[in-house]
């Protein structure tokens, strides 16, 4: 316990238990000065949370903060891992699906891009639209990193439609 802590304790004692403060003070001359030298009209402030005195509030704040920081560190790794495992399958599904769309477009563009200007344009547009930064952007996911309520990714849906029209046009068998 630091000198500051002790001073706080003593000040609080002063408000409530005069007998005790005198006993402790007898052995703490330096603290004695601190106690008497500082804010002497330490009236009881009503705290909406606890009804603690102001000094006790300070004590609480100090130790609560220390605990809070330790609490943060202790749970960090577990929570990160759980979050990672929760996000991974969604990311994997989106990555796989946009990969599939790009694979189709790239191959179709390879074969027909020279004769189909729109296909060529769409392929290069897809390479831009389907980038990870756009796909996992905060415009799409909410603050809890959830997809919109229907579970559908708007950019992915848009491109699924475009690619499936090319698939139909060039008789791609697989749906």
């Amino acid at each position: 316990m630091s000198t500051d802590d002790l001073a706080l304790l003593l000040k609080n004692f002063l408000e409530t238990e005069h007998k005790v403060i005198y006993r402790v003070m007898a052995n703490q001359d330096d603290i004695l000065d601190d106690v008497w030298g500082s804010d002497s009209d330490s009236e009881m402030l009503s705290n909406e949370n606890a009804g603690y005195s102001r000094d006790l509030q300070k004590l609480r704040e100090q130790h609560n903060k220390r605990g809070y920081l330790d609490g943060i560190v202790s749970s960090k790794e577990t929570n990160l891992q759980q979050g990672f495992n929760a996000g991974f399958p969604t990311g994997a599904t989106i990555g796989f699906e946009i990969g599939r769309l790009l694979g189709r477009l790239q191959t179709l563009n390879y074969k027909y891009g020279q004769e189909n200007e729109q296909l060529k344009k769409d392929y290069s547009q897809a390479l831009n639209d389907l980038k990870i930064g756009n796909m996992l952007s905060k415009h799409v996911f909410d603050t809890d990193y959830q997809l919109p309520e229907d579970g559908k990714h708007p950019i992915l849906e848009e491109w699924k439609i475009k690619v499936s029209s090319y698939s139909a046009q060039y008789n791609i068998i697989r749906k």
Binding site: Y68, Q82, F88, I94, G95, M135
Partner: protein, 163 residues
């Protein structure tokens, strides 16, 4: 009990109170940081698999007259159908093994396809080109890891300061 002990207990009590708050506060923040990172890594790890299937979809539909190519395409489909999309240790290890086979087989597919298409003058369409597309779309995994660390450090610091 001595009043002094009582106050020491109070310190302990305040500490525990804060500790529980810290754990709960971060439960959500860290969970979300982890989730964001999981989304990124999941995305990055599966783009190339999707590309392979997409390319197979189109190759299957071309009339290429190559039984070797059809056989390899079928084997790509079988391998990918075994892949699961979770982050369990076994799945990650399994994906690593399958990925090696997939890459080798896909390289062969693209070489065969190029040979068939040779009559027509075109840009090369090799496995390296496909991997390059994957990198363009999914980014370098290493880069995202670094970015993420910076964000995390900031967030924790902000929390402490905001308090």
């Amino acid at each position: 009990m001595d009043e002094f002990d009582e106050l020491l207990n109070l310190e302990e009590e305040f500490y525990k109170e804060g500790y529980a708050e810290g754990q709960n506060e971060n439960l959500k923040n860290n969970f979300l940081e982890g989730k964001q990172f999981g989304l990124q890594v999941g995305f990055q790890r599966y783009v190339l698999l999707g590309q392979m299937i997409g390319i197979c979809d189109v190759l299957d539909s071309f009339d290429l007259n190559s039984s070797a190519l059809s056989k390899n395409v079928q084997s790509i489909r079988t391998l990918i159908s075994q892949v699961e999309m979770t982050n369990d240790d076994e799945n990650v290890e399994e994906l690593g093994k399958i990925m090696i086979k997939l890459k080798n087989r896909f390289r062969t597919i693209m070489i065969t396809f190029q040979r068939i298409m040779k009559k027509e003058k075109r840009e090369p369409f090799t496995f390296e080109v496909i991997e390059e597309i994957s990198r363009i779309v999914a980014g370098e995994v290493q880069g995202f890891v670094e970015d993420e660390d910076v964000t995390e450090a900031k967030t924790t610091q902000d929390q402490a300061q905001a308090w």
